[in-house]
Amino acid sequence: MITFKNVTKRYKTNIGLDDVSIKIEKGDFVFLVGPSGAGKSTFIKLILKEIDADKGSIRVKNHEVTRLSNRQIPIHRRNIGIVFQDFRLLPNKTVYENVAFAMEITHQSKRAIRRQVPQVLSLMGIGSNACKYPDELSAGEQQRVAIARAIVNKPTVLIADEPTGNLDPDTAWEIMRLLEMINQRGTTILMVTHAKDIVDRMNKRVVAIDKGKITRDETGAYNFHEEPGTKTARDSMIFSRVGGLLKKNDE
């Protein structure tokens, strides 16, 4: 489904990914973990072709992403749903319109929209909120709308970038249940997260990235704070987190 082969991406001052190879099969549920600035965002941006790799091959659903032309990028992205930490709903559109918007963009018929949107909304448990605006909803409900928008076009991959980061633990679990359900319906899920309890309890494949390298790739619990046997790993993580914050402030 998603294959990285010797992918390297360098920025001016630091390394995004350094010779990374990984294979994610169709139907996988993968957690992507690691300190800020480790290369997680680079990983996702490369899949979406928001940025270009310097070296290596990236394949999504048998298409070589690195060789997509600008015109093919939108078509490529229709295969990938994306959910963000901050929901990114359009405030001046209702819940229904927010989800329908994703279908309008891909030129689907009004009939298909009228049929599919209510279905997806009730699947996400927010069918009764269709006419409300995002600011009338709780954070958890907003994230459900965002997920509904991400899956309404039936993507083969769903990328969730810290989807529970703004949610309290109970709501976070509700969202995880929904993602698990979506995964069971056949959608590959790639989730970036910092939430240790979620990773541990879900017992899924965990890919850890640090300094642009994959440092671990196995199923089960992951110790966020200390890489096996090293204390420097923790120091470097704190260091790079602080660095990441500083960078954010610069921007």
Partner: protein
């Protein structure tokens, strides 16, 4: 396909209204620009037609006889001139005929000529040249004829006039090009505001897989709407003013210069075409420029 077009237009009108202050500002700016352009256009077309008609009238050279040159000598000259190359005809014009022509041209004011005690106009020969280019040679040759007082020859005047028109045309082109660039910048700034206001929406559109043209469509339509409105407003204003000018100044101009103004309906129809295509391209370019950076990735 149809629903997509409908979506684009609907979005564009929504943006125009949401952004009405800036829309109005750019309509004003483009209208002002088109008005200046239109005035230039009217001037150039009129001067041009005047020059052309003058050019056509003056393929003749008039040779004025000395007072003492008698009829036999004059007839001799006519016979001689007709044998020259490039001369189509040579016709005698008596001083009485010349006076009659002048009276006809002066029309209502001709009574002024009646007060003259004697006819001051000389006898003359009117030479029609076969083609305008060779009129120089004919004129030079005519100057050497014995028994003539002067040769009246209009090519110099026509040439000067044409030179002035050409200069005006070039100046107008430069000014127009400058104005077009300015209006494109004005429109692109207006649309940049809508683009910024909707940047979040555009980001989401891109993530969901909207094509660049789908995203660009409404903004493009917004620019085009601004262009069309400005074009129609400025054509309307120019039409109003030009018909007035023709009614008030036109008859006077015919009397003085014997050149009529170009009729209003011809001008207005052409202006509609020119302004609409200019307005639409200014609007379209303005919005494409303002979107360029946004749609890089």
């Amino acid at each position: 396909m149809m629903s997509r077009f409908g979506y684009t237009i609907k979005q564009a009108f929504r943006q125009v209204f949401r952004n009405r202050a800036m829309t109005l500002a750019s309509v004003f700016a483009i209208t002002a620009m088109l008005l200046i352009l239109g005035i230039f256009f009217l001037l150039i077309i009129n001067v041009n037609t005047a020059a052309e008609s003058v050019k056509k009238d003056y393929n003749t050279i008039e040779v004025f006889m000395l007072e003492e040159t008698d009829e036999t000598r004059t007839q001799q000259i006519i016979n001689d001139v007709t044998t020259w190359p490039n001369v189509a005809a040579a016709v005698y014009r008596s001083k009485d005929q010349a006076m009659q022509i002048l009276k006809d041209r002066w029309g209502d004011s001709a009574y002024l000529l009646d007060t003259l005690e004697s006819n001051p106009l000389p006898n003359s020969i009117v030479i029609t040249v076969a083609d305008l280019e060779s009129s120089d040679k004919v004129a030079v040759k005519a100057k050497n004829i014995q028994g003539i007082e002067d040769v009246k020859y209009y090519k110099d005047t026509v040439d000067k006039l044409l030179k002035v028109t050409n200069g005006m045309k070039i100046a107008a082109m430069i000014i127009m090009a400058f104005l077009v660039v300015v209006s494109i910048v004005v429109v692109s700034n207006t649309i940049k505001l809508t683009v910024f206001a909707r940047s979040e929406e555009i980001t989401i559109m891109k993530y969901v897989g909207a094509t660049n043209w789908f995203i660009r469509g409404p903004f493009l339509a917004e620019g085009i709407i601004i262009g069309i409105v400005s074009a129609l407003v400025s054509v309307g204003m120019i039409a109003l003013v030009y018909t007035r000018v023709i009614d008030t100044v036109g008859p006077g101009l015919v009397r003085i210069l014997s050149v009529p103004l170009v009729p209003a309906d011809f001008m207005i129809i052409n202006l509609i075409y020119i302004f609409l295509s200019l307005g639409i391209s200014i609007g379209a370019w303005g919005s494409i420029i303002s979107m360029r950076r946004f749609l890089d990735t």
